[in-house]
């Protein structure tokens, strides 16, 4: 059937062509590729990409196979005489690697099927992830297979092969030799890679006049600038939440974006249960994931956070004996004073066990104040430590970019090598990089996608994905991870290592050699091979961490900076915020992340101007009204998104959307907040004018009702109240009265069950995307989401409690709860959904005729229906992405969470072969594995020692909609809050 141009993701007629394996553009340049230039498989037509090719390609991902890296590729392909020992067809392997986030490593373990990676998990050994992942890391695998990614190398419209490119780059480099590279500039992504560091050193050795600048639109430069202010040195603060009893976040989204959020959220969540519960205060403007977990959330404009921090300082100084803070403080008035007093008292009570964290959106002076408070409270060295940044570019802020822009303007740059992500789009508006960029003669751009910067390049080089290339990265604590590839590059592409190496004529060695040889030189020849293999296996190089320091802050300098801070005027503030889905915009083409509902607003396929209810009413606008936000003469048009709990007189604009040069996915999605962002006000600015345009824009939200209407759905109680209210929980658990004798599952070997601890859940949504990746869940597109047909098996419902102006929030992950008395089963006319003897509510896709009665009768509404052919004709690369253990569902059938039955079966096969029982905690569901806070556990309820059994027996346990008698296998644990009685 021809494409109908239906409003389904991937089937929209204009987008279809660009989502194919080869775009028209690529087809034009294809003929110029030298034969034999590309590795077997990479240049083949999609249909030729068979199992055998993958087996051959596997070589690249297996370090032990002894292949010498990816490039230049080997052309000899010899079929296996004996299969490699560690590859069994249909049994996946896992390899440790790492991805960069803000230049720092996030340790991962990637599942690979005969050389085809399909799933990303966190690496338990890695200090930054500790086994968890976030939604973005989960979606990285889709980036790899993205059909619209760039391919090949083009210089001024002329396609180049790999060798020709290296030759021409070498010639370009040579031309810069005579003036020592004075007219050569590099604009890089901040990175910690020692290999890149070494290469940069070599490049600068050859071209002493050249310079590397780094630019990151979202980064923690302010934290380092704050350390510079406080300690005289740029240091990275490292927060240890495990020992923090009282935490004050000064707009720090430390559970989702700031610092090492995966580790921090895990440590934080561990302290939300049990006896010593921590207490979190958050002062912020936009509602963040961290704000959702706050015991007390103080909403205020971002510009007012400084005053609040000073008020806390003043309290600490005047009442709690922290005299060194006296010069920093300034008492507040009214409500704020009361809050500051309570926070200060609480912080002081927990001296040495408290923590003040400042967020990346706050200026250096707030970070310096946080450092001073931590020092005064004796937290330094206990809950907070400082480390010299492992980044090659500790300063990746607008100042460096401004210098480069000036040089471009003055015609001082001949060659600009851009490896930073899309600077033309992300650069502060006042730098006018779009106009200035073309002034460089040779504009070498290494880009993953055909973005705005790539289109303005004279050398457009396709970048390899991190899962296709060798490399190395360091975590914040300095721990090194070797990035090992999982697959040969799917497209002709280059790594940053190779590009830099080309400037010192070393690129023909290939990335693998460059990385490995570098480490050989660093670590010493002796026993290197075994150590290298060990690093690859573990994903971390042991003993490479750097010891933290606890320098003393210079109070006088901070005081001077505080005094120099200009007074905050009244007026409407515009805030810019990194987005939970697209971060700074680099994931705008990722369909999983586009469809992923924002953890706070539940908006998919869009961004909106966040406003509080009161501000919206004052401006006379409602959700979906299009407003024009003007700041210093710049304007942006955005739809209103009313967020309860947002600060008044403040409009927050998430970054990363509204890109002009994008593919089919990101096309026309959202508005560009960068248009208002200037180098002097990277995160917020007061003095905006907001005007209603009269237009409307439909925002696709996956959840429309955020109130529980007094029903017992997501239960949250104050810790103190829980003591005497827990008896009421008996109404929500236990065996419901029934006239039918329930089936007894306790004699079975296995009784699978799940428990979700709402105290731990921060609502980040990593589980949703992990489930999507594991279970081949299709993306449906904005029109379908507007029709409430999103397919996520696991959704995270979010509810507001309390006043609409200043609500508290509860997040509740909800997938099929596998009822023992399942309402869906008895209404299916064809027995397509039936009960397994281990208690799984099973869905037989082949048998389903699609009456949808099961969904109607499901009180949890967790079933998803293939209203249209959502998978459609998949491009070959997307076929490679599918998990071979999971059926790709057809049009017209119902689907839902299976408790990852494929994972159960895989473990069962292993256990049976070994003649043993499956351990109670041996199986991890995909959502559980991804969860950074260990909120979800899965296992055997018939094993009393399993984690899930213990949680089912917890005093906080309750069953959702217990009164219906469905006897769900997924139990919830009540969310506890720990409010300060002084603020009650």
């Amino acid at each position: 059937m021809p494409p109908l141009g239906l409003p389904i993701y991937g089937q929209r007629a204009p987008g279809l062509e660009t989502r194919r394996w080869r775009s028209v553009d690529q087809a034009a340049t294809e003929s110029e590729l030298a034969p034999g230039e590309f590795p077997e498989g990479a240049a083949e037509t999609p249909d030729g990409f068979g199992r055998r090719s993958f087996l051959q390609l596997l070589g690249a991902s297996v370090a032990l196979a002894g292949l010498e890296g990816c490039k230049p590729p080997r052309e000899k392909v010899v079929s296996y005489v004996r299969p490699p020992a560690d590859v069994t067809p249909s049994v996946p392997n896992a390899y440790a690697t790492a991805l960069a986030r803000g230049g720092y490593a996030v340790g991962l373990v990637v599942t690979s099927w005969e050389g085809r990676p399909t799933k990303i998990e966190g690496n338990r050994e890695h200090p930054a992830s500790r086994g968890g992942t976030d939604a973005i890391a989960q979606a990285e695998i889709l980036e790899l297979y993205e059909p619209a990614r760039l391919e090949g190398f083009v210089r001024g419209g002329r396609a180049l092969g790999h060798v020709a490119l290296l030759q021409e780059l070498s010639a370009l480099a040579k031309a810069h030799e005579k003036d020592g590279g004075a007219r050569l500039r590099f604009l890089a992504e901040p990175t910690t890679s020692p290999t890149l560091g070494e290469l940069r050193r070599r490049v600068l050795q050859r071209f002493p006049g050249a310079r590397f600048d780094a630019w990151a639109p979202v980064g923690d430069d302010a934290a380092r600038a704050g350390a510079q202010l406080a300690f005289g040195r740029a240091l990275d603060p490292v927060h240890a939440l495990a020992d923090a009893d009282v935490i004050l976040s000064l707009e720090s989204d430390l559970l989702a974006l700031d610092g090492e959020p995966l580790r921090q959220s895990r440590e934080f969540a561990a302290r939300r249960t049990g006896g010593r519960m921590n207490r979190l205060y958050v002062a912020e403007s936009a509602f963040t994931v961290t704000g959702g977990m706050a015991d007390h959330r103080f909403r205020m404009r971002s510009a007012d956070v400084l005053a609040f921090a000073r008020a806390v300082c003043a309290e600490l100084a005047s009442r709690h004996g922290a005299g060194e803070l006296a010069a920093l403080g300034a008492p507040a008035q009214g409500d704020a004073a009361k809050r500051a007093a309570a926070v200060a008292a609480d912080l002081a009570r927990a001296r040495g066990r408290s923590l003040v964290a400042a967020g990346l959106r706050q200026p250096a002076v707030v970070h310096a104040l946080a450092a001073a408070m931590n020092a005064a409270l004796g937290n330094a060295g206990r809950t907070v430590a400082y480390r010299p940044p492992a980044l090659l570019d500790p300063d990746a802020g607008p100042a460096r970019l401004a210098t480069l822009a000036k040089e471009l303007e003055d015609g001082k740059v001949d060659t600009l090598v851009v490896t930073a992500w899309n600077p033309l789009y992300t650069a502060p508006a006042d730098l006018k990089l779009r106009e200035r960029f073309p002034k460089a003669k040779d504009r070498v751009v290494l880009a993953y996608r055909d973005d705005e910067t790539a289109r303005a390049a004279t050398w457009r080089l396709a970048a390899s994905h991190a899962l296709e290339a060798w490399g190395d990265l360091r975590a914040r604590d300095g721990t090194v991870s070797i990035v090992q590839p999982l697959i040969q590059p799917l497209r002709a592409s280059l790594t940053e290592v190779e590009l830099l190496a080309a400037f010192v004529d070393a690129a023909d060695a290939g990335t693998h050699r460059l990385v490995r040889d570098g480490w050989k030189a660093r670590a010493g020849e002796q026993g290197f091979d075994a150590r290298w293999d060990g690093w690859l296996a573990a994903g971390v190089a042991a003993g490479t961490a750097v010891a933290p320091e606890t320098p003393a802050p210079d109070a006088a300098r901070i005081a001077a900076a505080v005094r120099a801070a200009p007074p905050v005027p009244a007026g409407v503030e515009v805030g810019f915020a990194p987005d939970y889905k697209v971060l700074d915009g680099r994931y705008v083409e990722n369909a999983w992340l586009q469809e992923f509902p924002d953890p706070i607003t539940k908006v998919s396929w869009d961004n909106g101007a966040h406003l509080s209810d009161a501000t919206a009413r004052r401006l006379g606008v409602a959700q979906g009204d299009v407003i024009e936000v003007a700041l210093h003469g710049r304007k942006v048009v955005a739809p209103v998104l009313v967020v309860p709990g947002h600060a008044d007189d403040c409009v927050t604009l998430p970054l990363g959307y509204g890109q002009r040069a994008v593919g089919a996915v990101g096309d026309g999605v959202g508005f560009d907040a960068y248009a208002l962002r200037t180098s002097d006000a990277p995160w917020f600015a007061v003095g905006a004018e907001v005007r209603k345009t009269g237009e409307r824009h439909a925002l696709a939200t996956t959840q429309e009702h955020f109130q529980m209407n007094g029903r017992a759905i997501a239960l949250a109680l104050d810790q103190e109240a829980f003591g005497h209210e827990k008896r009421e929980l008996e109404e929500h658990r236990g065996v419901p009265a029934t006239i039918l004798k329930p089936v007894d599952y306790t004699h079975q070997d296995y009784r699978w069950g799940m428990a979700i601890d709402l105290s731990r859940c921060i609502g980040c949504g990593a589980c949703t995307v992990a489930c999507q990746a594991e279970n081949n869940i299709p993306v449906v597109g904005k029109e379908q989401v507007l029709r409430s047909r999103e397919m996520h098996w696991l959704r995270v419902d979010r509810y507001y409690e309390g006043s609409p102006e200043d609500p508290k929030s509860v997040s509740q992950p909800l997938a099929c709860v596998h009822c023992e008395a399942a309402p869906c089963e008895y209404v299916c006319p064809v027995n397509a959904t039936v009960h397994g003897d281990e208690g799984l509510n099973e869905m037989v896709y082949n048998r389903c005729v699609g009456t949808r009665y099961c969904s109607n009768n499901c009180p949890y509404k967790v079933r998803r229906f293939n209203y249209l052919d959502y998978h459609g004709e998949m491009p070959t690369t997307l076929k490679m992405l599918q998990n071979p253990d999971v059926t790709v569902r057809a049009r017209g059938v119902m689907e839902k969470c299976t408790y990852c039955t494929q994972r159960i079966e895989r473990v069962r096969i292993g256990a049976r072969s070994a003649g043993r029982k499956i351990g109670g905690d041996e199986i991890q569901s995909a959502c559980q594995q991804a969860c950074p806070t260990e909120a979800i556990v899965f296992g055997n309820l018939n094993d009393p020692g399993s984690a899930v059994s213990k949680r089912h027996a917890d005093e906080r346990r309750y069953d959702l909609l217990h009164e219906l008698g469905t006897r769900p296998r997924t139990a919830y644990l009540v969310k506890l809050r720990n409010p300060n009685p002084e603020l009650a």
Binding site: I8, N831, F865
Partner: protein, 477 residues
């Protein structure tokens, strides 16, 4: 001695309970036959052709919508999660409800020997058949994979999977297929003597052949009549439980679920009453223009319309009682979700449709308390159309509006129909209209033999009346 007609007219004055005759005058057999086969054998009328073409346009829309549904998927509708059933099942229940009047009139009223059913039964039965045909379409096309609908039928398959008899949907299959079959047989059996009449009166050879084959060699012998009569009564007996069972089972589709607003024990009687209510309304809607157009006023009299209006009023009151009981139980049960679901109907996003339901189904039929409204063609038309609209609204409120709000607020979402949804609703009306027009043109819409029989019965009664009067007269004199 007065003429028969005068007697009838006088009785009209004398007996307030027998307000108007079921047959105007006592025309001869020949007159009756000729007037009743005229629409079939007479010339094609321009109005009929225009209306047919118009409705065939609507049928094209319906076919297009069906095609989209089957070839692209039911995603072309507005259904979603949580509202997995919407226009599809609403239309299904609406049509099947309309189909109830036929069996009721044919079977139950026959067994109760209600004379006024005679002239309208064929008409109502045809309406039933076509309504059931329209209704039967929806459960099939509403499936995600409609080509597998036969999996709901119990048959000894090699993979030994049977339908799930706990689910109400296989019961639906039995109920609807039985109903359709029995209704068809009943209708056709009733047609046989008239088909023979048509054969005998046919003007062309082709017509004679076709009607000849269709009349199965009916010669009108006493033995034929005897068998026919027994068969007809048997089928009437067989159909009687179906009047109750079909909509009872349709109501189980909802009642056996556990959704607030569906999980209600009053549904079976309430659905049956609603079905008869809407079925009679549809008969009136179709009959009022048809009797005018085809000159059936002498056999379908004001008496028929008056009686049907009374049935509408009675069943309307039953439906209203159902509404009240639903509210009472929602309150009495103390179930928060149930109470919320009912309030949501009144104050929720679809309150306009609920208001329409109450106005059309509860308020509008009260006009039938007034005899003048029951006799006024305009009044009958307006109220019966309102009832049809109201009953559709009721099913929409029960099915779709209930689904928009159930237990977990995080999953709530509204439903908006697409053009395909509207296409399937209005298109099915047009298709129904096409079938009905074809029926009116090619088959006798009024049962000729039964009307003739009725005339005899009436004459017989008239004679008795005349005798009585004569005796009274003699005694007086």
């Amino acid at each position: 001695m007065s003429t028969v007609r005068e007697t009838v007219e006088r009785r009209e004055v004398l007996d307030p309970l027998e307000t108007s005759p079921v047959l105007v005058g006592r025309p001869s057999d020949r007159d009756l036959t000729e007037s009743l086969i005229e629409p079939v054998l007479g010339p094609t009328r321009k109005g009929w052709v225009i209306l047919l073409l118009l409705l065939m346009g609507g049928m094209g829309f319906w076919l297009l919508s069906l095609g989209m549904t089957v070839f692209v998927g039911i995603g072309v509708w507005g259904n979603n999660i949580p509202v997995a059933w919407a226009f599809d099942i609403t239309n299904f229940v609406w049509w099947i409800g309309i189909g109830h009047a036929g069996t009721l009139i044919s079977a139950i009223l026959l067994l109760f020997q209600q004379k006024w059913r005679t002239s309208i039964n064929r008409f109502a039965e045809a309406m039933t058949l076509f309504a059931v045909a329209m209704a039967g379409m929806y459960p099939i096309i509403h499936l995600g994979r409609p080509w597998l609908f036969w999996w709901l039928i119990p048959y000894p398959s090699t993979n030994a999977i049977w339908p799930n008899f706990k689910s109400a949907l296989p019961w639906d299959v039995f109920a609807i297929s039985t109903y359709a079959t029995v209704s068809f047989l009943f209708w056709y059996l009733g047609l046989i003597p008239d088909l023979a009449t048509l054969r005998d009166a046919a003007r062309s050879r082709t017509q004679r052949r076709i009607y000849g084959i269709m009349s199965f060699g009916w010669r009108g012998s006493a033995r034929h009549w005897q068998h026919w009569r027994v068969g007809y009564l048997l089928l009437a007996g067989l159909s009687t439980p179906l009047v109750v069972s079909v909509h009872t089972i349709v109501s189980f589709d909802f009642a056996i679920s556990q959704l607030p607003g569906w999980h209600t024990t009053i549904f079976p009687p309430y659905f049956v009453a609603g079905a008869i209510f809407s079925g009679f309304a549809m008969v009136v809607t179709l009959m009022v223009p048809a009797r005018k157009f085809f000159n059936f006023e002498h056999v379908v009299t004001a008496r028929h319309l008056d009686n049907m209006a009374k049935v509408i009023l009675a069943t309307g009151l039953m439906v209203a009682y159902g509404y009240v009981m639903e509210w009472f139980i929602a309150w009495y049960s103390g179930s928060e979700a149930e109470w919320f679901a009912f309030w949501n109907r009144v104050v929720g996003d679809y309150r306009g449709i609920y208001a329409m339901q109450i106005f059309c189904n509860v308020v509008a039929p009260q006009a039938f308390w007034f005899p003048s409204v029951r006799r006024s063609l305009v009044g009958l038309m307006v109220v019966s159309i309102l009832v049809n609209v109201g009953m559709w609204a009721e099913r929409f409120v029960i099915i779709a509006v209930t689904l928009t709000r159930d237990f977990i607020p995080g999953s709530w979402a509204n439903y908006t129909p697409t053009w395909v949804d509207w296409g399937l609703l209005f298109g099915s009306m047009a298709t129904f209209g096409v079938l009905f027009l074809l029926f009116l043109r090619f088959l006798p819409a009024i049962p000729i033999s039964e009307v003739k029989e009725l005339r005899r019965e009436l004459e017989h009664a008239d004679h008795h009346a005349a005798d009585r009067e004569a005796r009274v007269h003699v005694e007086r004199s």
